[in-house]
Symmetry: C2
Subunit: 338 residues, 2 copies
């Protein structure tokens, strides 16, 4: 009998949010290999209580080693136990439990670095709750980068669905600060990381990257802004010199209809809404957030904690299920060359 | 026999662009009332030459009065003649013809102001060509507003398709200037004009307007930018006090998927790409540009002159056809109360 593949490591996320709900629902959807084996790094009691509240018959299996997860996955939801500090009330976040949220991420990273997990899938956290508890990172991604150790380049966020792959070059900054944040170096490093990881994890030998402009009509040759001429086009030219297949800067408004999407493998957008508007317009409930440029694989659903839906039975698990499937497919692809 | 309704007045646009091509194609699609009667204000020789080049058998009828247009429309494409200065080469714009382009617009406005036309539909112009010829307005819309005489409020551009109606609050300015251009007065006047004209022309008694935020996640309560708190929310509050049904500021990325679009009649976006990205993602080839806030009706296709397609047979007339249909429907709706 072949040795079972290691599972995916699924983090706890904020236990007062919909993380437990969608974890239970994802496991229930596992039939016929539809969801790859995962192990939750979290509190089995939280999960059991949420299952009871939702009226779900889910057998929970506490495992000591993630390698037990694959064997039991058909029969039970495997949990690597990590207790929360205080009893969880769905919808009521409690900073007393921020430590467990953080430890779950740390343990998941240790698992994937020790080859005991194939990839990390993260349940949503609340930044506000973590900040109040003294969390010292802007978000999930920066914390993961820190745990991963030194990095050649910053991690890159890519949103993935069948309809579109898109990378926002800048993310959580005010719109008025976007122009001043763009540099040729940032664009070039993002193009390099994206191209390399599209090859490594998606099997695209020479990925076609399409870069948006910043301004209306990509600046109309300088008439509506000069960032295309001074920052974006030079970065594209340099990326081409380095052998990447990059087009643009393209007017962003005509880059996301069906015919245009057929001309590239991933779009690189200049700011949050320029990437997220087309992505969520096309793939509202099944998009996946992938972090590229880390030494391990990480995906997550592209939604938040949705505290108001926790424990109600209304949380949609589709984005988490897609995040688990994509992490599995990417890990398989990356492992093909081993 | 009832008096025939006045036709729509269709302007020439840049004669070296696809205007003549799509005008011919729109007329050919007229069967069974699919395209409402229009009269082209332009050069019949340009139209005849383009028809010859494209191999189209189109009878052109020179009319002296637009009221003849409806009677002949089934048999011939009616043209109110206005000669260009120099022979037109498709794909090669010539500023010698900018005068005719401008006069066509002036005559169309005179027709609609004299009730000889029901509405104006404009073919695409090249701003660069008009500027070189000394045209003194930023664009079509400002020229129309000037011809219309004094205005209470600035005209409002609305993009219309079955999938979405959306208004960009600011349009052709660099992205870095958007934040400084937003004022509560601009937002309030745009909301008022949009609500009034949605009622007048679309029969929506109490239109639901959804306003986007400027920043990612609509600013996350000030953490990612303060324009939502300082500018947008106060304008929304004032609009509500004035009796309008307005929601927001909403995170822009989750406002354009199918379920969200069901919650409003029109979205008000803060800048060009925030409006145009979802619109062209959803309705790339059949969107219509409507100018609200003028004392007459004007629609246009939402694309440009496409010089490289002129005379090739590859120009898609769908957006012009939709612009003609929508102008007709809006004029009919506005006339219901007469």
């Amino acid at each position: 009998m072949p040795m079972a593949k290691p599972p995916l490591a699924l983090t706890l996320g904020d236990p007062a949010g919909i993380g437990p709900d969608i974890t239970l629902a994802a496991w229930q959807a596992r039939g016929a290999g539809a969801v790859p084996p995962f192990v939750l790094v979290g509190d089995p009691d939280v999960l059991a209580a949420r299952a009871l509240l939702l009226g779900l018959a889910v057998r929970i299996e506490i495992v000591a080693d993630p390698r037990e997860a694959a064997a039991c996955f058909a029969e039970a939801l495997p949990v690597l136990p990590l207790a929360v500090a205080r009893a969880v009330v769905p919808g009521r976040p409690d900073e007393a439990n921020a430590g467990a949220v953080q430890q779950s991420i740390e343990r998941a990273v240790a698992l994937v670095q020790g080859d005991a997990a194939r990839a990390i899938v993260t349940n949503p956290v609340s930044k506000a709750v973590l900040y109040r508890a003294g969390f010292g990172f802007p978000g999930h991604t920066e914390f993961l980068a820190s745990l991963a150790g030194t990095q050649e380049a910053a991690p890159v966020m890519m949103l993935v669905a069948d309809e579109l792959k898109v990378v926002p070059l800048t993310i959580h900054i005010p719109l008025k600060d976007v122009a001043a944040t763009l540099t040729p170096e940032l664009i070039l490093s993002t193009l390099s990381t994206t191209a390399r990881d599209l090859e490594r994890y998606f099997g695209l030998a020479r990925p076609r990257l399409a870069v948006t402009g910043l301004n209306p009509h990509a600046g109309e040759e300088g008439g509506l802004g000069r960032e295309e001429i001074e920052i974006i086009a030079p970065a594209i030219a340099e990326a081409r010199r380095q052998g990447l297949e990059v087009s643009g800067p393209h007017p962003a408004d005509t880059l996301f209809h069906a015919q245009a999407r057929g001309t590239y493998d991933a779009a690189i957008a200049m700011y949050h809404d320029q990437a997220l508007i087309p992505f969520k317009t096309l793939a509202f409930d099944h998009g996946v957030n992938v972090t590229l440029g880390l030494p391990f694989l990480r995906t997550s659903p592209d939604h938040g904690t949705a505290f108001s839906l926790a424990g109600t039975g209304k949380a949609n698990p589709m984005s988490l299920i897609e995040a688990l499937r994509l992490a599995d497919a990417m890990a398989t692809r990356a492992g093909d060359g081993h």
